[in-house]
């Protein structure tokens, strides 16, 4: 009842016509749907996750392969993992190159190189994180 009285006195009811709303501009539907399509991944702008991360993925794959290769490199005593697997499975004719350590004698890296490598690795990580962050914001 009180509300009813308030509404009767309500000057805003005279001024505000609920039918007189501000309508969305021309082309609103098309523009919004274009954004929705991009969001859904069916638009041409959307990159697939794999394509977007192809280069770092390949880099990681190659690095892991190289590290694995070094670990599995046969030693002179014939106790390497690959040799053991080859012997177990009986693969004939498996021959792997042996690293001649004598060639590396007399060759030494300065100690700063190890710091440099760690620095480069950290910068790579930092760069990757930043690029992911800014791409998401964009």
């Amino acid at each position: 009842m009180n509300n009813q009285k308030n509404h009767e006195k309500d000057i805003l009811k005279e001024y505000i016509d609920p039918e007189r709303i501000e309508k969305a501009p021309e082309g609103f539907l098309l523009k919004t749907m274009a954004r929705v399509r991009i969001e859904a991944g069916t638009g041409p702008v959307k990159e697939r996750l794999l394509i977007r991360n192809l280069v770092p993925a390949l880099a990681v794959l190659i690095t892991i392969s190289l590290v694995a290769f070094v670990i599995l490199l046969p030693d002179t005593n014939g106790t390497s993992l690959i040799r053991a697997i080859a012997e177990k499975t009986g693969i004939a004719g498996v021959s792997l190159p042996q690293l001649n350590m004598d060639l590396l004698s007399g060759f030494s890296f300065p100690s700063i190189v190890s710091y440099l490598l760690i620095g480069i690795f950290m910068l790579m990580l930092f760069d990757r994180v930043l690029s992911i962050f800014f791409r998401r914001n964009a």
Binding site: I11, D17, I21, A24, P25, V36, E39
Partner: protein, 202 residues
């Protein structure tokens, strides 16, 4: 084509029919744009806000629980997006002291007197809306234009029902005051104009 209801189109979208979302946008775009416009105060920002809101709704369509109506859920997104945008503005919109036009200005735009009066009232409401707070603008719009109940307004804004009543009361008072002041000035202008138009018999 007859609109088959929000839930029907939402289910279609969730099953991968992207075009079904265009029916939802078409259905709600004007109401959502109006809410954004009344809070932001200009069409450019309102369009941006309404588009962003539809995009947010699309992204989180799966999380729509169907506890409230879809339009209430959509209103909430538009309301929150508009309030965030207004609060993040570096430069506040200029708020004029007096309503910068009178009925005669609107008579120049349209020869139809009724239409001129409606346009004048609409502009005066927009002017008064810019003089009150962000949340109050949203509440006034939801109450007068969208005719939502107190419960629905509470669901949209996240403000308690008691607080909605208080804010609505205060906003109504402020707007009434602004409109009455502007009307008095308008009446004064018209009477001055009328007096000055009398022929001088001296």
């Amino acid at each position: 084509m007859e609109y088959k209801g929000d839930i029907y189109y939402i289910d279609l979208v969730l099953r991968g029919n992207l075009n079904a979302f265009s029916f939802i946008i078409d259905r709600h775009k004007d109401r959502m744009f109006n809410l954004a416009f009344r809070i932001c105060g200009n069409r450019e920002e309102a369009e941006e806000v309404a588009q962003d809101a539809f995009l947010k709704a699309f992204r989180s369509l799966k999380s729509f629980r169907k506890k409230s109506t879809f339009s209430t859920w959509l209103y909430r997104i538009v309301y929150n997006t508009s309030i965030s945008l207004v609060r993040s503005r570096k430069n506040k919109l200029l708020s004029l002291e007096d309503f910068p036009a009178d009925m005669i200005d609107f008579m120049r735009i349209t020869p139809d007197e009724d239409e001129a009066e409606r346009e004048y009232k609409n502009s005066l409401v927009n002017f008064a809306l810019q003089k009150i707070g962000d949340e109050e603008r949203g509440i006034i719009t939801l109450h007068y234009y969208d005719e939502l109940s107190i419960e629905e307004m509470s669901a949209v804004t996240g403000i308690s029902r008691a607080n909605i009543r208080v804010k609505l009361f205060r906003a109504r008072q402020k707007m009434t005051e602004i409109i009455r002041t502007s009307e008095k000035k308008e009446n004064f202008r018209q009477s001055t104009l009328h007096t000055s138009n009398f022929p001088n018999h001296e």
